[in-house]
Amino acid sequence: MKWKLAVCVGLAVVLQSSLRALWPPLAYADLPLVVVVYFALQRDAVMAVMIGTVAGIGSDLLSGGLLGAGGFSMTLTAYLLAALVTRVMIDNALIRIPVIAGASAFETVVYFFMHQLLGQPPVDPMAGTIAETFAFKIIWTTVVGTTVAFLLDMLFNESPGLRRRRHFAFRRRIARRGLTRRKY
């Protein structure tokens, strides 16, 4: 499980850089963010923030932007999603679409804001203007992210039924606080 997770994060970061060299518009699809969103929906907030930081810093290392800006925005996005998924059932194949779009919008705004805050605003938006780049990024990330989430479901043996059962079990556990540790 853990090695699969590490491979997913690593591959997403490397592909993000390599795919742009093959066909520039693919850069709009934020693969590391998709992986972060996918794992944030697994209801483990600690794991989510850690993956957010690793994926974000990994992207920053290959980018011309500020080191840590991606890490900051992805960590925050992961935490908010993980907190939300414990309250509302958003881990559903159809609801995932607006969730990925929302996460992409939020992450982009935070990333952009952090650069502005530290006096290094993004200087070369890919689509020409900031608004267009912002829009393209959300659309591409949502479309590609929905597909990638299905692939990740297959990789991690997740099915809609299993997810639903786990969600209801989780709600029952939350209702009866003070459960003992789960053993796997």
């Binding site: 970061v13 490397v14 907030a45 900051f72 053993k183």
Partner: protein, 298 residues
């Protein structure tokens, strides 16, 4: 394997969140404050990732080529008709082009000869692009082991590309000339014969360059060539920068603003050359100017 209860996760998650956000914020402020080039950690990470990037770029290129061949077949019939018409036009142009080609080959041989004599070039392949859509830099497959150093100019036969801003053992990061943070000394027209001297920098839109500080008294026309002057001490003099596509005229007191299309096709770069260019040492009078080393004299 024992997994934490949800209660434990809920208690620990905000602590982890604060710690990790603080770590990221610390990294950001450290890099934002540090203006001395790329952090070492970035250079090493790029070197570590470069073999994987090289492999994925290679595999991806083969895959895309395979699928593209199917798509191309569908368009082949329409293209065939169009191409027949264009062939007739092209034959006329070919005659003129042959004359230009012969002239070009002579000039190219001359240029190659000059390059060989003055400084060596290191060929490199583009193995990655900036993963963020907000910046545009390249990652090339040559590093310190191939003799690459910071601030070396990166060029193609069509024109200058940018400069090296980060270097690891086997890879380097190149800041493109179209980046707003990048600039080069340039002149419109022939070096040594034109007074339309200024500096080009990234315009931030449509991959264009903006040339500033050219006197309003100089005549600049759309289609004129822009070449480097070497005054920035990064790019050697005489290299092609691009072509003038728009001129906003100035006056006696105000300079012109000139928009330049880069000669190098920056969006589809595959191979580049890094020039091992050492700018000439400053002369003694330059070194002793009153505003040089002001801090030391105090």
């Amino acid at each position: 394997m024992v997994r934490s209860t949800q209660k434990e996760i809920r208690q620990r998650a905000p602590i982890w969140l604060i710690v990790l956000l603080a770590l990221n914020f610390g990294l950001m402020t450290w890099q934002a404050k540090d203006t001395g080039g790329q952090p070492v950690i970035k250079a090493w990470a790029q070197s570590a990732f470069s073999p994987v990037q090289r492999a994925t770029t290679g595999v991806g290129g083969a895959g895309i080529g395979f699928f593209r061949s199917f798509a191309d077949m569908r368009n082949a019939v329409v293209e065939n008709e169009t191409l027949k018409k264009r062939l007739a036009d092209a034959e006329n142009e070919l005659r003129e082009a042959r004359q230009s080609r012969d002239e070009n080959e002579r000039l190219k041989r001359l240029l190659d000869f000059t390059k060989d004599v003055s400084f060596k070039s290191i060929p490199a392949r583009v193995i990655g692009r900036d993963p963020s859509v907000w910046f545009n830099s390249l990652i090339i497959n040559r590093g310190t082991t191939s003799g690459i150093d910071l601030d070396m100019p990166v060029v193609t036969p069509e024109g200058i590309v940018g400069r090296v801003v980060g270097v690891g053992p086997v890879s380097a990061q190149v800041m493109l000339l179209t980046d707003e943070r990048s600039a080069a000394g340039a002149v419109v027209g022939q070096l040594g014969q034109s007074n339309a001297i200024g500096s080009v920098r990234g315009y931030g839109k449509n991959g264009l360059l903006e040339m500033r500080y050219v006197s309003g008294l100089e005549t600049v026309n759309v289609g004129d060539y822009v070449v480097t002057t070497g005054q920035d001490r990064i790019y050697p003099p005489g290299l092609n920068v691009g072509t003038v596509i728009e001129v906003k005229p100035g006056t006696i007191n105000t300079p012109q603003t000139i928009y330049v299309r880069p000669g190098a096709r920056l969006e589809s770069l595959q191979e580049v050359a890094v020039l091992d260019y050492r700018p000439p040492q400053r002369t003694a009078p330059e070194r002793t100017l009153p505003n040089v080393d002001k801090g030391k004299t105090k």
